[in-house]
């Protein structure tokens, strides 16, 4: 098992490397001249030259590549064009808010979603099942930024129960600020996890070993929870990883709706300002999260599925 873990970790390194290379290629080659892109068509030649100098764009491409890799390794991601703040500082300031939001949303989504799925599966084709189906249909369809806007208009603007923007300072006000944005993301998560739990539990309940459990004389509760739900949690745990990632991507729009600080906001503002170094930093943070979460998912799988351990 330890060997497997090491193998998986070793596997993540080339993946990370590939991600860095893709980001580099995308940033330098695809959109043409980054200087033009950053300063606009009206920029003077001296301004462009000065920009290239400052960004290290006047050296050969392979040297830029190594500079870029070196920068990432030493956590030197350059400075914002706009504020001249180091990109790393900007990320460090914003990251906690995004993590806070994602975690809160995941927690709410899991607490609501998995029980909903169990209720639906154990009451197949009855009223609770139909209700969960309806909920998940809407959850799958409604864009998070629309749901967020609706909640914001209703509960913050009209009722005044929640603040309109920001993230709060002390614990109580942070919870107060995070509630609606987290609820927005959690709604979609709960729909996804509910449906996934229902599907996989129903599938497991049709398996031969569930029949064996009944043949042993086990009570229905034991059959559903000991043999059903535990095995159904295998696909659900993969679903949790996916759901964590999609919460992260959803956080971009939700941070915008609720005017919260966060990595998503940072990235979107940087795009609007063509703040080249910050865009690159933001993309790297998200890509890093993806690699990390996928690695974690693999590790979780090893822990819960004995069949993977021997391979």
């Amino acid at each position: 098992m330890a060997r497997y873990l090491l193998l998986r970790l070793g596997d993540a390194i080339p993946t990370l490397f590939l991600v860095l290379t893709l980001v580099f290629v995308a940033m330098r080659i695809l959109p043409g001249d980054p200087a033009l892109a950053a300063l606009g068509d009206a920029a003077l030649p001296e301004q462009l030259a000065e920009f290239r100098e400052r960004m290290g764009l006047n050296v050969p491409l392979w040297q830029q590549y190594f500079n870029f890799l070196g920068g990432v390794l030493t956590l030197d991601l350059g400075r914002s064009l706009l504020s001249n703040t180091p990109v790393l500082t900007l990320i460090a300031q914003n990251l906690p808010y995004t993590i806070e939001l994602t975690m809160a949303a995941m927690l709410m989504g899991i607490v609501a979603g998995i029980p909903l799925g169990v209720v639906a599966a154990t009451n197949r084709n009855k009223t609770p099942d139909t209700g969960v189906r309806l909920f998940s249909l809407i959850g799958y369809a409604i864009p998070d930024f629309f749901l967020g806007a609706l909640l914001l208009i209703t509960f913050s603007l009209n009722m005044g129960w929640f603040p309109i923007n920001g993230a709060g300072t002390d614990f109580v006000s942070r919870v107060h600020h995070i509630f609606l944005p987290a609820l927005t993301l959690a709604f979609v998560k709960a729909a996804f996890l509910g449906r996934l739990t229902r599907t996989s539990l129903l599938e497991v309940l049709g398996k031969d070993y569930v029949r064996t459990a009944r043949a042993k004389g086990a009570k229905e509760n034991r059959v559903i929870y000991q043999h059903g739900l535990r095995n159904a949690m295998l696909p659900v745990s993969t679903g949790l990883g996916l759901s964590l990632l999609s919460t992260l991507s959803g956080s971009v729009a939700v941070e915008l709706v609720f005017n919260r600080p966060g990595i998503g906001r940072l990235l979107i503002d940087a795009i609007a300002e063509r703040d080249y170094a910050v865009i690159q930093g933001g993309v790297l943070v998200f890509a890093g999260f993806v690699v990390l979460i996928n690695l974690l998912m693999d590790l979780v799988y090893v822990v819960i599925d004995p069949r993977v351990r021997v391979k």
């Binding site: 060997r3 193998l7 070793g10 596997d11 398996k207 031969d208 070993y209 029949r211 064996t212 459990a213 009944r214 043949a215 042993k216 004389g217 086990a218 009570k219 034991r222 000991q226 043999h227 535990r230 095995n231 295998l234 819960i304 599925d305 004995p306 069949r307 021997v310």
Partner: protein, 623 residues
């Protein structure tokens, strides 16, 4: 079967189920389908006494498994309806509440299933799963339950039981898993064990072990056994009494001896004819299976068959020292961690009009041999000659041309035909690929071949989904024949078919051999079919041929210890054998995986009788 029906009443009626372990009367089970309620089992009755085994025999769809599940009340109550009476030790089960029924299941009735792999929870250790039965029924709890589980593993002859307790099902072999299932079913010492095709998915030597184990435990515990199977050979091995089921009804019910001696029903007789006789078969080479016409009820006797083998001239297919090994990949930066010696120095000749059977258990390399000969996989070394041409030396284009002479029929009839291509086009494809004529000629050829395999020419425009398994296998045979090959490699080609369909496809293959002078390389684990269809048989073990010769000689007078063990494990139609508890070798089927540096020993062969060749075995066989 109603108590008033003609068959088997003399055994059943006087007892009327009094004192029996299990007494089933007029059991009717219906399923809710899109067409409303459909009766799957209509009116089955039987009794099982303590220490007695009753077999329910039938083909797929006969309702035999549904009968078992009805007795256990394991069918979905919303989708099924069970009527009649099921009494376990004089207690009616069908009227029990779900809670009362739960206390019967596992405690008074245990059940084992065909697929032990899927029937065990993959995320729980086997110890925990066995202990669960004990704790559910309050027999033991906690550590004591685990201790008892260990004792049970020991009882089902699992070596080193204590260390196996913490194993997960995937790390056990198929036979071990079935033993675990048995341990679970018998944990609370039930009065009745229901075994639903418990050995169908197992190799024949493992089947013998499991059957023996069930018999031993039955004797020790004094329980009744309801044994569901499709194999009359297994029936002869285990059952005191037998009920033959066909389309939800009992067509015959009697003591097993009576059924084997004087079955009244044609269907029963046909089922018995499908059991291998091992060396007591015909002396005149391959013989047809007798078949029963469903409408007239007449059994067509097997007709005499002319000798088709062309003994003069060179063999059509000659294989010399064929070797195929697979490396098992190791870690990221290390070499292979082991090597599968799938085929090791295999040599044989196949003459015109002859059938050579390659037999052996799973993993023995028989299928790999077939695929290597077809060059679907590339062997490492060896010669494969078709009428003197070594096909391994041919380039791509000439190999493509050579493929006309050797064709293959696969195991799974449902996957052997492209679902998107009409069967006429499928049969015409080889003909057109080799540009043997125009499209019109290809169509003509396809229609002719359809007629020859017993289908009709107007079916050519239909799609595979419209045909049954047996029909599809006929279509595959027609497709293989469209190139007029000399050799057909049949890889477990009839194994997936029901007994009765199997017999007919085998008969067809023999007829085609007569008509076209075909040679078959017949790869199979099914001794009954091999005995019927082959002239020669080669027994494979761990990638090597250990014994080879005329069927009668090899089956009737096996020489190699492995062949002997294999033959001893094959169930034969002799119910008198079952009372004996024969010594069974409890060894697992060995794996052909070897260390990377393994060098296979040089083998020598000796002649036991004319044309009967046996490998000289080494120390590993000396017991």
């Amino acid at each position: 079967m109603h108590a008033t029906s003609a068959v088997g009443t003399e055994r059943v009626a006087p007892k009327a189920g009094q004192g029996s372990v299990l007494s089933v009367r007029d059991l009717k089970t219906s399923f809710l389908t899109s067409r409303g309620w459909v009766e799957i089992v209509n009116g089955i009755s039987f009794d099982i006494d303590a220490e007695e085994t009753l077999a329910v025999v039938g083909e797929s769809g006969s309702g035999k498994s549904v009968t078992a599940l009805s007795i256990m009340r394991l069918l979905d109550p919303e989708m099924s309806r069970v009527e009649g009476s099921v009494r376990l030790a004089d207690r009616e089960l069908l009227t029990l509440s779900p809670a009362e029924m739960r206390s019967v299941r596992g405690l008074q009735m245990g059940m084992i299933f065909q697929e032990a792999m899927t029937s065990l929870n993959p995320l729980q250790t086997v110890g925990k799963q066995i202990a669960e039965v004990l704790t559910i029924h309050d027999r033991y709890s906690g550590q004591a339950a685990m201790k008892e589980a260990e004792r049970l593993l020991d009882r089902v002859r699992i070596p080193a039981a204590a260390s196996r307790l913490n194993d997960y099902p995937h790390s056990l072999s198929g036979g071990m898993r079935q033993r675990v299932m048995i341990a679970m079913a018998l944990a609370c010492k039930p009065r009745l064990l229901i075994a639903d095709e418990p050995t169908t998915a197992l190799d024949v030597t493992i089947q013998a072990q499991i059957l023996q184990l069930i018999k031993q435990l039955q004797k020790e515990e004094g329980m009744g056994v309801l044994f569901i199977t499709h194999d009359m050979g297994v029936v002869a091995e285990v059952a005191d009494r037998t009920v033959v089921m066909l389309e939800g009804r009992a067509v015959e019910s009697d003591t097993t001896e009576a059924i084997f001696e004087r079955a009244r029903n044609g269907y029963t007789r046909a089922l018995i004819a499908a059991v291998p006789k091992l060396g007591q078969g015909s002396e005149n080479g391959p013989q047809h299976f007798p078949t029963l016409d469903r409408k007239t009820g007449i059994v067509a006797a097997a007709r005499e068959r002319p000798d088709t083998v062309r003994r003069e001239g060179e063999p059509v297919l000659s294989v010399r020292n064929l070797v195929k090994r697979f490396d098992i990949p190791g870690g990221l930066f290390s070499g292979p961690s082991g090597r599968v010696h799938a085929v090791e120095k295999v040599s044989f000749d196949l003459r015109g009009g002859e059938t050579l059977a390659l037999v052996g258990e799973s993993g023995c390399g028989k299928s790999t041999t077939g695929r290597a000969i077809m060059r679907l996989i590339e062997p490492q070394s060896g010669e494969i000659s078709i009428e003197g041409t070594d096909i391994r030396a041919l380039d791509k284009e000439r190999m493509r041309d050579m493929r006309r002479h050797i064709q293959m029929i696969f195991q799974d009839p449902y996957a052997s035909l492209n679902p998107r291509i009409s069967i006429g086009d499928a049969i015409a494809e080889p003909f057109l690929t080799h540009k043997l004529g125009t499209k019109a000629q290809a169509r003509e050829k396809a229609m002719d071949l359809l007629e020859r395999v017993g289908l009709s020419a107007d079916m050519a425009s239909r799609f595979p989904s419209q045909f049954s398994g047996g029909q599809r296998q006929r279509i595959c045979i027609a497709r293989a024949l469209s190139l007029e090959p000399k050799v057909i490699v049949a890889d477990e080609s009839v194994s997936a078919l029901d007994v009765s369909i199997k017999a007919q496809v085998v008969n067809l293959m023999m007829d085609l051999q007569e008509q076209f002078g075909l040679s078959y390389l017949f790869i199979s684990h099914d001794m009954a079919v091999v005995e019927r269809i082959s002239h020669q048989v080669a027994v494979m073990y761990l990638g090597e041929i250990v014994e080879c010769g005329p069927v009668r000689a090899v089956f009737g007078n096996p020489q190699h210890p492995y062949t002997k063990r294999l033959m001893a494990a094959v169930p034969v139609p002799d119910p008198s054998r079952r009372k004996q508890l024969r010594p069974v070798n409890n060894e697992e089927v060995k794996s052909p995986i070897r260390p990377v540096d393994y060098v296979p020993p040089v083998r020598e062969y000796r002649e036991a009788s004319p044309a009967h060749i046996v490998q000289v075995w080494g120390d590993d066989w000396k017991v």
